[in-house]
């Protein structure tokens, strides 16, 4: 599964993207956030306030309770400030 990070999430985790094999037991966006936060220091910095993190699954906005099954690309980012 491809993970993408944008804006301060990208800066805090220290990379723009990575390829991961999704660990057993990780079923939802929320599970993945918790796993990334626990994985290393960068993850902890990026995801220490999981409630403000937005996610997209395969380029569509996704809530934290969305299942990851079948997802090819998951992105994490702060609330949008375009327009």
């Amino acid at each position: 599964m491809k993970l993408l990070y944008f804006a301060w999430v990208r800066e805090r985790i220290g990379k723009a993207e990575e390829e991961i094999a999704i660990p057993a037991g990780i079923e939802t966006v929320s599970d993945l956030i918790a796993w990334l936060a626990a994985r290393d220091e960068g993850g902890a910095r990026a995801f220490n306030e999981p409630e403000v993190i937005r996610a997209a699954i395969d380029r569509t906005h996704a809530s934290h309770d969305m299942p990851l099954a079948g997802a090819q690309e998951v992105a994490f980012f702060p609330p949008m400030t375009g327009g």
Binding site: F6, A7, T60, H61, F77, P79, M80, T81, G82, G83
Partner: protein, 155 residues
């Protein structure tokens, strides 16, 4: 007719308006919304607009399709820039053409509210003192603006 573009270059509002209304004879109202970079009291050198290239065009197209489904439009153009934008320069353009003025005005309003809260773009400040500033915080007011369209289906 929906046109959506994500680009680094500035846009030409008049040229886009001419394109949108060329040959149209039932357009009674044309609304353009141009979002510009403010200088924040002289503090700002530029805004850096980061975006999610794979998703931005798709998501803005989805919002534009919702806008077109919701209001009686003759045409809708949306252009969002990325990269560095200096104070006074353009960031975003929404152009809505309709037979009647309320549809065009409301479409531009709706489109902007959803662009602000759903388009995958993030602004960061570059300051006149040469330092890199903060990421712009999402505004609660923008969420409330977007929520208006769910509360009141007719407004």
């Amino acid at each position: 007719m929906i046109t959506v573009r994500i680009q680094r270059e500035p846009f030409d509002v008049q040229a886009e308006a001419t394109l949108l209304t060329a040959g149209a004879t039932d357009v009674g109202a044309l609304v353009t919304f141009t979002g510009l970079c403010r200088d924040e009291g002289g503090r700002l050198l530029a805004l850096e607009l980061e975006h999610y290239p794979g998703m931005a065009l798709e998501e803005i197209t989805r919002i534009a399709e919702e806008t077109e489904a919701r209001f009686e439009l003759e045409g809708l153009t949306v252009i969002h820039r990325h990269g560095l934008v200096a104070p006074g320069e353009q960031i975003v353009l929404v152009l809505a053409a309709a037979s009647h003025r309320r549809a065009a005005l409301q479409a531009a309003d709706f489109m902007m509210d959803y662009l602000k809260t759903r388009a995958p773009f993030w602004k960061r400040e570059h300051l006149t003192d040469g330092t890199l500033g903060d990421w712009v915080q999402a505004s609660a007011a923008d969420d409330l603006d977007a929520a208006r369209w769910q509360r009141d289906e007719t407004s």
